[in-house]
Every structure is written in C-alpha cells, then in structure tokens.
C-alpha cells in the first residue's frame, strides 16, 4: 500500500527533498540507502516537493535512495516493558534488548488544559541541604541547573534521581559523552534504580537530528506514566545541546536567525518541552530537572536566558556547589510552610548571615580591620560552606535544619541572629558549643584561626581539592 519514491531532488544538510503526493505534514518516512535504513520526518511541504529531515543524517544517501512514507507521525511505544531499558532518540533499543512496538502513542502531543492543572503541593526530597532547605524542589516543578562545562552537573542529577521519592525516572540525554551515558546507567544500576527508569540517550557521536527527538520522546513517555497515576521525574541533560541542534536545523532550512544564530522560535520550542511539567488534577505528575550549560558562564546567552523565563526558578552550580545567591525555587513557598515551623526562618537567617560573610570577605580582601562580629561571620561562613553547602553532604531535611541550628549556636549568640524569640526558645541548642554532641559523627570542626585566614576565590582549584578530600 505504501508507495516508494526513488528520486531524491535535493540533499542539503540533513534535509532531503523528494517529489511526492498525498504526504501529510510531520509524517514519518523510511529512507533506505547504502548506509542502511533511517527514519525521516516531513518538515515542510511545498507543492509536490516534500522536505524530509533524516534522523541518521544525510551522509551516504544517494540520489537513488528509496523513500517510503509510513502514514503516521513520530510515535513511541508506551508500556511497563520500557522500564529498565535504554533507547536512542528515535526510540530504537540501545541496549541489546528487543524493540518494543506495542501501544504506540504520538510524541509532542497537545498541551495540558490549564484548567486541569492544580497548584503543586508536595516537596521532592533530594537529601541535598542546599536544595531541600534553601530552594526546595516541588513536585511538578520545572527547574534548570545552570552550570558551566566541567561542573559535576551529571553527578548532581544522578544523585537527585536516586534519592527523590518518585515512581519513575526518565532520563533524556542529549549530546552526552559516551562515558557520561555509562556513568548514568551504572549509577542507576548499582543503586537498583534502573528497574524504575527509562533512558533515552543521544550521545555526541550520534546524528544531530536524533538529539532533537530526545526531549519529546522522553516527555511523551513521562506523560503516559503520569496519566497512569505515577509520579515521574524527568532529567534532561543537556538542553543547550538541544538548542544547538535546533539552531543547526534552522540554519540548514535557511530560516532567518534571531539572536546569535538561534531561531526566532527558540522560546516557544523550549517552552513546549518544559511546560510538559504538570500536576494533573486527578492523576500523577511530571517534574523536570534539566541541565543547561552556559557557554562562557554567560547567563544572558540566549539558551539560559530563554530558559530562565520559562522555568520556575533555577539552580546555579558553581565551583562544585549550588550557589545560594541566584539560585531560586519559585515554588518553595508552596511547600516549606508545612515541613517544619523553623524551616523558613532557618532558610532566611542562614542566607542573610552568609551574605554578611561574603561582605566581610570583601572587606578582608581590601585590608580593613576585622571586628569581633566579622570574625564570627568568618567562622560561620566557613562552617556553612563545609557542613551544608558541600555537595558531599547527604542528609534529610530535618537533620539539615538541626545542623543549621547547631552551626548558628556554635557561632553566634541567640539575639545576634534576629530570629523570632519563640523559635529560639524551642530550637536553640541548649548546651553551649556542643561540638561533640554525638549526632551524625560529622567532620571534625576546623580551627577558627584557619577559617578566618582562608583566602577566597583567588585559588578556586585548591579549594576544590579540599572539598574533594572532605567528600571522601
């Protein structure tokens, strides 16, 4: 029943053109050439001319390649059998398992009716104090991790994936290094989480077009799980690669670029993916965490900039830590009033004092004399960075709050913190300076003098090494 077309009229970039009739927009086709068989999708119709984007790339396609239209748009299978499996961006198995072709659903479906959404209300626990305490992740939130290349963002993602209390984890890898892919697979497997995960992986060596499909296919599967009452966490890394793939295709198609070569619809394209995050009125939810690497650490670059306007906050990953300034979870107010009564106060007080610490560091570097208060702040900042900010710290929210109180008690008098007196009464640790009070057998406290003298920023590298050491 399918007609096969033999004459390719034009090949430019990854887009080929054939003359065909009765083809519908966004329909899939199979292109058979000496290189093998690849899927392709219709991206423009112009009279008889049909423009097809070839998923595997156009290299090796001859003008006599065979094109067979399949009569349906891009689909993916959805069933429980997907769990524990690894696929490519176009849905072919990447592990050695069998292809799954039951219960096909369209990808990139319509958006959710806002009237069917609800205000998010559940916290997602990650065990990372900088997230749980200071910028709580909320179920159905969409949040990017802004990072510079070289930061351990994939490690952070993997940790959140393992610790978050969700039913299904879906990983969409775009332009991943092959060893990063193996890292994710092995980490999930070791922790026994692979059986509740589905991986869609496009590695840097795979054809660009497949990179474009990864978020859509991952989110289509996530949506189906969510409709079946599952709480789904979708991890996307790295969305900048996705945007670059969009740019590449747009330029091949001779579209007018808008900002630094990116197509004018970059915002809409990103939003269409991120907005899949949802808490359904009467079913499950989708939470999206996506890495966006910032080229040149520039947050005004079109990709992080557009992302920031779409998402509900952002985490900044810098020097191996989640920065307290700039990082923001826009939805945290919805949940942190119900965790523990001291949560908000600890969050605000500790950040304000940390800001004071940063100011003191500046003063110190300018050679001003340190007052007694400055010395307290210096001690505090150092403890805060070591015992809460460090990504190696892995404790539940309540323990992190307790630890916050202990740090405050070690450094300040109760009145100096400016906290409401009823909370101080209830939570301020009784014993004066109980450095060895027995809980969590944490790191030994560092000498105060050392803390006060530590140089800031000038030697990032040595600092990082110290952190690594303390993680082990």
């Amino acid at each position: 029943m399918y007609k096969v077309y033999h004459r390719i009229e034009q090949i430019a970039g990854n887009v080929i053109t054939v003359n065909a009739a009765g083809v519908s927009y966004r329909e899939l086709a199979e292109v058979t050439s000496a290189e093998g068989v690849s899927l392709a999708q219709v991206i423009r119709l112009e009279g008889k001319r049909v423009f097809l984007q070839v998923f595997a790339g156009s290299r090796g396609i001859g003008t006599d390649a065979r094109v067979r239209f399949l009569g349906h748009p891009m689909q993916t299978s959805f069933s429980e059998a997907l769990l524990g499996r690894v696929f490519t961006g176009s849905g072919r198995p990447r592990d050695n398992g069998p292809a799954i072709e039951e219960n096909m659903v369209d990808i990139g479906g319509p958006s959710v009716n806002p009237a069917k959404r609800i205000i998010p209300r559940n916290m997602v626990r990650t065990g990372i104090p900088m997230i749980d305490v200071f910028n709580t992740l909320v179920e159905s939130q969409k949040l990017p991790i802004f990072s510079v290349a070289g930061e351990p963002y994939n490690q952070v993602l993997a940790r959140i994936a393992l610790q978050a209390e969700v039913d299904v984890i879906i990983l969409g890898g775009m332009g991943l290094k092959f060893d990063d892919y193996l890292f994710f697979r092995d980490t999930l497997e070791e922790a026994g989480a692979l059986s509740r995960a589905v991986l869609f992986i496009h590695t840097a060596a795979d054809p660009t077009v497949e990179c474009l499909l990864v978020p859509d296919i991952a989110l289509a599967v996530a949506e189906q799980f969510a409709l079946n009452d599952k709480r789904v966490l979708v991890l996307l890394t790295d969305m900048t690669n996705f945007a670059d793939a969009l740019k590449e295709i747009a330029i091949t198609m001779e579209q007018i670029p808008s900002n630094r070569g990116y197509p004018g619809d970059l915002y809409s394209q990103l939003a269409a993916r991120y907005e899949k995050a949802v808490d359904f009125d009467t079913a499950g939810s989708i939470t999206i965490l996506a890495v966006t690497t910032m080229p040149g650490d520039d947050v005004t670059h079109p990709v992080p900039d557009n992302t920031g306007y779409i998402t509900e906050g952002q985490f900044y990953l810098r020097n191996g830590r989640i920065e307290p300034f700039g990082s923001l979870s826009r939805l945290k107010q919805l949940v942190n009033k119900r965790t523990r009564e001291d949560h908000r106060t600890i969050m605000n007080t500790m950040i304000q004092l940390y800001a004071g610490f940063k100011e003191t560091l500046e003063k110190q570097s300018m050679g001003f004399r340190m007052s007694a208060w400055d010395n307290k702040l210096l001690k505090y900042g150092e403890m805060f960075e070591r015992e809460l900010m460090d990504l190696g710290v892995n404790i539940p929210l309540e323990e992190a709050l307790d630890r916050g109180w202990r740090i405050l008690a070690d450094c300040f008098e109760p009145a100096e913190t400016g906290m409401p007196s009823d909370l101080l009464e209830k939570f301020w640790p009784r014993e004066a300076r109980p450095q060895d009070a027995g809980e969590e057998g944490g790191e030994p406290p560092a000498g105060e003098a050392e803390a006060a003298e530590q140089p800031q920023k000038s030697e990032n590298d040595s600092e990082k090494e110290q952190e690594k050491a303390s993680q082990e």
Binding site: G22, S24, L45, K116, I256, G264, F280, H301, D305, I310
Partner: protein, 577 residues
Amino acid sequence: MAKNVGRIVGVNGNLLTVEFDQPVIQNEVAYAVTGKVKLKSEVIRIRGRYAEMQVFEDTTGLKVGDPVEFSGELLSVELGPGLLAQIYDGLQNPLPELAERLGFFLQRGNYLPALDRSKKWSFTPLVEKGAVVTAGEALGKVPESIFDHYIMVPFSFPGRYTVESVAPPGDYTVEHEIAVLKDEHGHEHKVSMLQRWPVKRPIRAYAERLRPSEPLVTKIRIIDTLFPVARGGTYCIPGPFGAGKTVLQQITSRHAEIDIVVIAACGERAGEVVETLREFPELTDPRTGRSLMERTLIICNTSSMPVAAREASVYTAVTVAEYYRQMGRDVLLLADSTSRWAQALREVSGRLEEIPGEEAFPAYLESVIAAFYERGGVVRLKNGEHGSVTIGGTVSPAGGNFDEPVTQSTLKVVGAFHGLSRERSDARRYPAIHPLESWSKYTGVADPELVERARRVLRRGNEVYQMMKVVGEEGTPLEDFLVHLKAEYLDAVYLQQDAFDEVDGATSAERQQYVFRKIVKILETNMTFKDRDAARSFFHGLTQTTKDWNRAPMESEDFKQIEQKIEKMVAEVTSYV
C-alpha cells in the same frame, strides 16, 4: 451562498500556502480541513492566487490538496453578558468547558461558543419604541456579577436607528431577540444581547477621548507615589527573569481600585495562571465584599499553547476590555508578557521570509505595539458617562537588557515605565522597581512638590553611595553619610513593601499621603550624631519602628502609638541650629 473553498499547496510549520479562486479578505478566518478536524486559521498575506495563512493549531497531518474553507469574517470575539469570571484561551474558547469535554489535553480543532447559550439573563429595557439610537447606546440592561451589564446597539451599526420594538422585562438567553431597529433606509435589524466584534479593530462608539488625569490607585506605594499610573493610561514593566514582574501584576490585579481586571496571560507559564484561577475565587474583593474572580476575566494562552493564538490573545483581551469600557466601567488590562507576543510576530514574520529588522523582529513591530497601547484611554460615552481602559504590559527583554527592540518600542508609547532591576531583586528589595531609572508622566496620589523633594534625597543618596564605594566609609563626611542613611531609610520603609503582609501589602491612597508627608518631613530634619556608628544605629532603630508602623492598621491604636514613638525618636536627634 456558495462556499469559498481553497486548496493547500504548502505547509511550513504553522504557515499554510493556499490556492484560491474566489475573492478572499486580508485577515479573514478560514478553516483547514484534515479528516474530521477543522483547524482555525487567519489569512495574513495574499500573493496572486495564493493566500498565506497562519494556523492557530498544530498543523501535523495536513496534506497538499486538503480543502480550506473561507468564512468571510475577520477574527472576532463574542461580546455579551457572561464574560466576567471566565477563563478563555486566546481565541475565546472557555477552558473549563473544554476540560469537561476533552479531559486533560487541549485537543486541536475544538471550538466552543464563548458565551453560554442556555443561560438566561434578567433583562430590563431602557428605551421605548420610537427612540432614536446610535451604535454603543444602551437598549437595556441585565445584572452581571456586581454590575449592570448594558445591552448596547451593536458597535458595527453605522448611522441612526429607530427602535421598532424592544422586549419587555423578562429572562432571555443571549441569542434571544431583544429589539428590532430600523435604519435610515427603512431596513429592519434584529438585535440580541450577543454581538461580535473583530479583535484587531478598536471600538470607537463613544463621544470623545479624554486625557487620562485621575490616578489609578494600585496600593503599591512606589507606584502610586513615585511612578503613578493614570486611569486610562498605559504603563510597562520590563525586567529580567526572576525580578518579580508576574508577582507585581498579580498584586496589582488583587488590590487595584478598578471595576474590572482583564488578565492576558500571553505566552507565560501555565502554573501562574493556575495560581490566579485557583486562588481568586477564594479571595474577597475588599471593595465589594464579593469574590475577586467576579471582577476578573482571564485570557490565557500559555507558552506551550499554539503560537499564532498567542498573538490573537492580547487583541481578544483588549477588545473585551473596550467592551466593558463602553458601559462606563474602569477596566485594567494586564498583559504578561508583551515580549512573547512580539516573539509570536517574529516567528510568523520569519516564516513569511520578510526582511528582518533588529534582532529579526519584523520592521512593523513598533507600529503594532503602538497601536495596541493606543487602545487604552479614557472616553466620554454618548450618555455623558466616562469609561476607561488602562493597559499595563510586562516586557521580558532578552538578557535583561532594556536596549532591545520590544522594550524600546514600548517605552516610546507608554505613559509610565516601571523598570525592574536585578540588583534590587537580588537584595530582596521588593517591589524591585528601580527608583532612579523608572519614570511616569502621570500625577500620583501625593503632592508633586513633596515627591520631587523625596526624589532629590534618593538621587543624592545614590551619589554618596557611589562615592563611598571608592573612598570607603572613613572618607565620607558625616553629613554625606547621613544623606545616604536617609535615602536608605526612605527606600526601606516606603519604597519597599511586604506583599505578604495583610496591612503593609496594600496601602490606601489616604494612608500614602499621610505617611509620605511624615517621612519626607523626617528626611528634611537636621540631625546631629556623635559619629557614623551612632547615626547608623539610630536609623536601624527608626527603620525597624517605621516598618512596624507600616504593619499596623491605620485606624488602630497601635498606629497612633508607633507614630508618637517615631516622633519622639526623631525629636531626640534633631538639631535646632
């Protein structure tokens, strides 16, 4: 009448090229048919026998040769009782009803009537047989939420009409005939409560346009006192992401002293619309004692909904706002965000392969933005009453840089500019409106003379602060240091406002006048201190006390007591030289 049907010859994203034989109209609505689904679209360019059309839906599955049915009508909205408290998409489909029918997702090709056809409204005629009326004059009224909703002669009726008959008082549906009008040539026209109006054409059925002069009280101090908005004026809020644009608009939509608020959520997050739509029905409007939702209307086309409908959504919103203005109401239209709308224009322009302007925005961007804001204004209606549409639009400049085309085109046409700054939002100084960069051409609630004096303190304070960064505190004379402290004080206790505090969150015009006069007086008091630390700690204390004052209800005993305490504190440091 023979249907005018064309054929698709090209598909590129949401842009169709359609071949036609019979006449078509620019901006005419047409439906592309694929299988059983009809997709709404609009003609945006005509070249020879080919019309280029933008489709308001996803175009997957369309084929070359598929039929396109032209409707002969421009893109229009339905106007009539029942609009308030509704939630529409950009094409005026009621979202709750769509959800009821289709479930979680917005399936394409489903269009529902905007107004409930079965609901009955209690009609009271206001004219008698033989009366002479023109477009926009009331024929009768029905009660809608807290207002009388006037049923008017359709705005599209030119010339004068004689009332042939009018329905007696009673309950009617929106499509029921309520009057028959005879035009000057003796033709009869039937009129119902429902009328249609093309969204891209301003409604002009009024006597004259006036200059906006009365302030619109938003209860946000920095706006009402320093950068006021007038009823019928226009203003814009540009700011980088995370600076609080949307929160500012949400607060405004809650507290503004206005009859009706139309919220156009244009290309922004769905989550924000959900907050409004789930919370507003629970909140009470202090002015009427009724739910806030009853004076609110939401047009939402969030970022993942089809782009072409995003462009339509701001026009739908402004048309509905104009409709209520015609009844003598004061309407506030909040558009969040106009940048997304401009981007929608850019996407279409790109597909049409037009020669791009700056940052690939189309060259006509400026005139389109100007025409939109010009639809705001105060008018004197034919019956002598006044009505107004105030337009407030947020702008989301790329990279937070105000030099980009959308911000610049908007600044040229608005009457007030509330620029949000990253520094202020990082320092948690909310609302993050920059007190030195923003401006307004309107007159606010406070005495302009006092405002000028306060502004001078802010400017001087900033100069001192800049200097202090170089020479350090030690190098700053105590006198200058005091100016800095005073500016900081004004900022902390008056410009900043805690949106989450019930009292501080909304300051009435009366209270603003009272408090502002007090604070300016403090700023202009000569003070003596022994050194900088003494001055700093005095101002810390004063700030703390004044903040408490802000949190005390104006009529309360606390308010008076704290006021006396402040006076006493100031008197202790005043120098009478």
